[in-house]
């Protein structure tokens, strides 16, 4: 009985592949991806194809965790094919619109799933575990390049896909593929490869990020989206210090961002403002960040004595007080109108808003903001990682884990908490100041409770206490609503449900903190990375 499973599963894989290469819709009615044509996997058909091939391969190769991984891949193919079949039936006016290829794919992936779920127990041999594989250096470098490429490709593609059904399929594909990879410990292995070549990875990532606007993908709109994500992510990392490291729940964090934004708008010679000032940008950023930090200390000093949820409600109150003040202090903030017409940044003769020719490539105005964002993000990330690895960072974690014990160990908890609060506020202030120029305005509507929640959600969804988590979380929260246009009125509902489901099934976030993991891997990393990791 069990013997028959493998050929059966392989037959399923073949069926699914063939199904993906044949039409999914019987007639043309504008369903995206040319699903009426055969011979190539157009549109969403590509995703089940890849998953089916992967599941098929996993039937043959003996790796640790392959059964659960293969099951995940097969289920992913089944889900995507099913979702598209339903969508085709709905758009095309009945089941008659769904063509043979879709049914074949469904049947094939179902077979694959069955083969994996009833299949042989996975091998327990240690050497067949992925993370133990070490490839020669050039191959590993190629793998790094490949994964960076995959990341860029995913970013570009998720921006490029216009049709909602295809985008949903794509996101489902990413989710299932990631969990399939996770189950064969692929990420753990990638991590070890990255750790062996940490400097190269970081350098290459930085260069790729800088070169991005020069590629075709760098249109004005996307660069603007990226610049906004950058601001948001910088603020999220700041919040990560407060919530992720020090464990202080701040529900009014957007207020610090707002303080920075208003400072930037007021001092940045906005066209519609209450005061006409022309100060240099770098100075304004520092002032904005400092003012926010001062606010952080002023608010923190009396309230940080409180613990846990009391602090949450007090910060929420301060967030509201800030918003109401921004509404009411017309002489300073122009009330509900906000300060508008914040001009483009300029450094000497260089105007950031205009298009520029660099190396023969025309860069749209927003490319400059994109670079500003990169610098800001780099600074914030550096600050975060250095703090995290320092004595202060360890003190914060100790407070988070057990405040009483931390105090008993001689940590001045109130001072440390105040520092965390001020650092978080400082970063938010800097991000807010830059945002005043990116968004060209500061208005009270942008600093509501929901915005604080969005930032918090970015931190928690991405993974508390990690930089990639905050980056990923902000990008996801920014791009997803942008793409789910077909559900425009139901976006918030989906957001709410996503929060609930995420907390239920993966409360540690997409990229969980590796504090303990890294401690274990420290020896491996040390030789390749020289001084970077040393405190």
């Amino acid at each position: 009985m069990k013997r028959a499973l493998r050929p059966l599963g392989l037959a399923g894989a073949v069926a699914a592949v063939v199904g993906c290469l044949t039409p999914w819709a019987t007639f043309f009615f504008g369903y995206p991806g040319k699903v009426t044509l055969s011979g190539f996997p157009g549109g969403a058909r590509l995703y089940p194809l890849i998953l089916a091939v992967a599941a098929g391969v996993l039937l043959l190769v003996d790796v640790h965790g392959r059964r659960r991984s293969g099951l995940m891949a097969a289920l992913g193919g089944l889900a995507i094919a099913g979702y598209n079949a339903v969508a085709i039936a709905k758009d095309g006016g009945g089941l008659g619109a769904v063509a043979f290829g879709a049914w074949l794919t469904l049947a094939g992936t179902a077979l694959l799933a069955a083969a994996h779920s009833f299949g042989k127990e996975e091998s327990a041999i240690a050497h067949s575990r992925f993370p133990n594989v070490k490839a020669p250096a050039p191959v590993e470098l190629l793998i790094i390049a490949g994964s960076l490429a995959a990341l860029l490709y995913v970013v570009v593609l998720s921006l490029k896909i216009e049709e909602s059904t295809r985008f949903v399929s794509f996101v489902a594909f990413l989710g299932f593929a990631a969990s399939a990879l996770q189950r064969v410990d692929a990420f753990e292995w990638l991590q070890s490869v990255f750790d062996r070549h940490r400097q190269v990875t970081l350098g290459a990532a930085a260069i790729a990020a800088i070169a991005f606007p020069f590629t075709q993908a760098g249109s004005s709109y996307w660069l603007r989206v990226f610049a906004s994500i950058g601001v948001f992510a910088a603020a999220a990392i700041g919040l990560n210090i407060v919530v992720g490291l020090a464990g202080l729940l701040d529900l009014g964090y957007i207020a610090f961002f707002g303080v920075g934004a208003y400072t930037g708008a007021l001092l940045g010679s906005a066209a519609r403002t209450t005061y006409d000032t022309h100060w240099p940008f770098l100075l304004v950023v520092l002032i904005g960040a400092t003012v926010a930090a001062v606010f952080g200390v002023v608010i923190g000093a009396p309230t940080l004595r409180l613990r846990g949820d009391y602090l949450a409600i007090v910060t929420l109150g301060f967030g509201e007080i800030f918003r109401i003040s921004a509404f009411n202090l017309d002489w300073l903030t122009r009330g509900p109108n906000g300060i508008a017409g914040v001009p483009d940044l300029g450094l000497g003769q260089f105007n950031f808003g205009e298009t520029h020719q660099v190396f023969g490539v025309t860069l749209p105005g927003f490319a400059n903001y994109y670079f500003v964002e990169l610098v800001l993000l780099a600074a914030v990330i550096l600050m975060f990682t250095r703090l995290n690895d320092s004595r202060i960072g360890r003190a914060w974690v100790a407070i988070r884990e057990d405040e009483t014990a931390a105090a008993a160990m001689g940590i001045n908890t109130v001072r440390m908490k105040l520092l965390a609060f001020a650092m978080g506020a400082f970063i938010a202030g800097a991000a807010g100041t830059v945002n005043a120029h990116v968004a060209a305005s500061a208005a009270p509507d942008s600093f509501t409770f929901l915005e604080s929640i969005l930032l918090l959600a970015a931190v928690v969804l991405g993974g508390m206490g990690t930089v990639p988590g905050a980056l990923l979380g902000s990008a996801a929260l920014f791009v997803l609503p942008e793409k789910l246009r077909a559900f425009q009125d139901k976006r918030l509902l989906l957001f709410g449900l996503a929060l609930i489901l995420m907390m239920r099934f993966r409360p540690e976030g997409i990229v969980p903190s590796r504090r303990r993991q890294r401690e274990l891997h420290d020896e491996d990393g040390a030789d390749a990375m020289g001084t970077v990791a040393a405190p």
Binding site: G33, K34, F40, G42, G43, L141, L142, I144, A145, G146, L148, A149, A150, L152, Y153, V156, L157, K160, I161, E162, Q199, V200, G203, A204, A205, I207, A208, T215, Q216, A217, S220, Y221, R224, V225, S228, A271, R272, F327, N328, P336, N337, G338, A340, G341, P364, F366, N435, V438, A439, A440, S441, A443, D445, S446, R485, Q488, D489, L492, A528, G530
Partner: protein
Amino acid sequence: MHRRRFWRISVLVAVAALLLAACGSNKGEGSSTGTTTAKTNTVKIGVIAPLSGSLSALGQGIKNSVDLAIKQANDKNKVKGWKIELAAEDDTAKADVGAQVASKLESDTAVAGVVGTLNSSVALQVQPILARANVVMVSPANTGIELTQGTDPANKKRPYPNYFRVATTDAIQGPFAANYASKDLNAKNVVTIHDKKTYGQGLVAEFTKQLVKNGGKVVAAETINPGDQDFSAVLTKIKPLNADLIYYGGEYPEAQLLTSQAKAQGIKAPLMGGDGIFDKTYIQTAKEASEGDLCTSVGAPTDELASASDFVAAYKAAGYKDDFSAYGAYSYDAANVIIDALAKVLSGKAALTPALKQDIITAVQGTKLDGVTGKLGFDEFGDTTTKVLTVYKVTQQEWKAVKTDEFK
């Protein structure tokens, strides 16, 4: 590892990554687009409005009304050789999101005009971005004065030549109401209340200026929070002032509560507001308490215009899920202003060049149309030339027009 070697390897890896990603993404692109086999050219009209969130009812109404105008234009082949498409973007009523979607429309070369926005605060951000690409923008709902006349009232200067609106500004509606209050109602002592939003605050400010000029007096200036329901504290405070009139800047959800609670507290003065309270829900909710309340609205009463009922009928027939709501008719007009300009400029042309976009702006400036909200045309600031307003009064549980006049 040596520094030079490290950089060389890093650059190599990065270049490999970019190349791989570029190949991949181009392939992905190739299979997803390129299905435009139509022979006619396509031009797009954008919409920037809150399509989600608490103002979505208004935003959806704007989008659907523009969609209706576009469908009708395509059916009648108004712009010869061209097919018009709708490109609707959601600004979620926030300035920064508005700026973002504006640059999305700006970078799409097929977009020739934009209908939007709902909120003046969002328009402030959208204006400069669309101006950069010479994309004409016609707002159905913005009332903020500085959008067309700049920040300095003494020295009016139009900030952006591509911006027009079919809605009237606070500078017209507020004083019109003030004149009615002091001349027709003989109101001397007035209490003003607004909801701290751009619309309400602007309206009250302009109302107050004119009222003082007319010799009236504002005995108390109060504010409420949008979303609040209990206004008894504010009302208790103003009750002993025995005002002749309560002027409210804001929208009907709060206004209807305000008037019922005022009457329940024994305040006799009627409530007067702008077009934000001109809605039948106001009367349905406040019931007898609304009797005698007043509001101003732009244009002559709609039931006197035949074209308006055509619009209402066509909108119903099109079967949209949401109502056309407060700004539907204006949005329909705004879209037709753009379509009319497109018909003049684009008919017979092969491609939409940047120079033609400039011509479209010029054509919009010279608009002369009969719209569903009245005559459409623009002055040198881009404001509507229609300055006819009507005062309505709740009489026997219905809004009845009591005075229609041109504001001078």
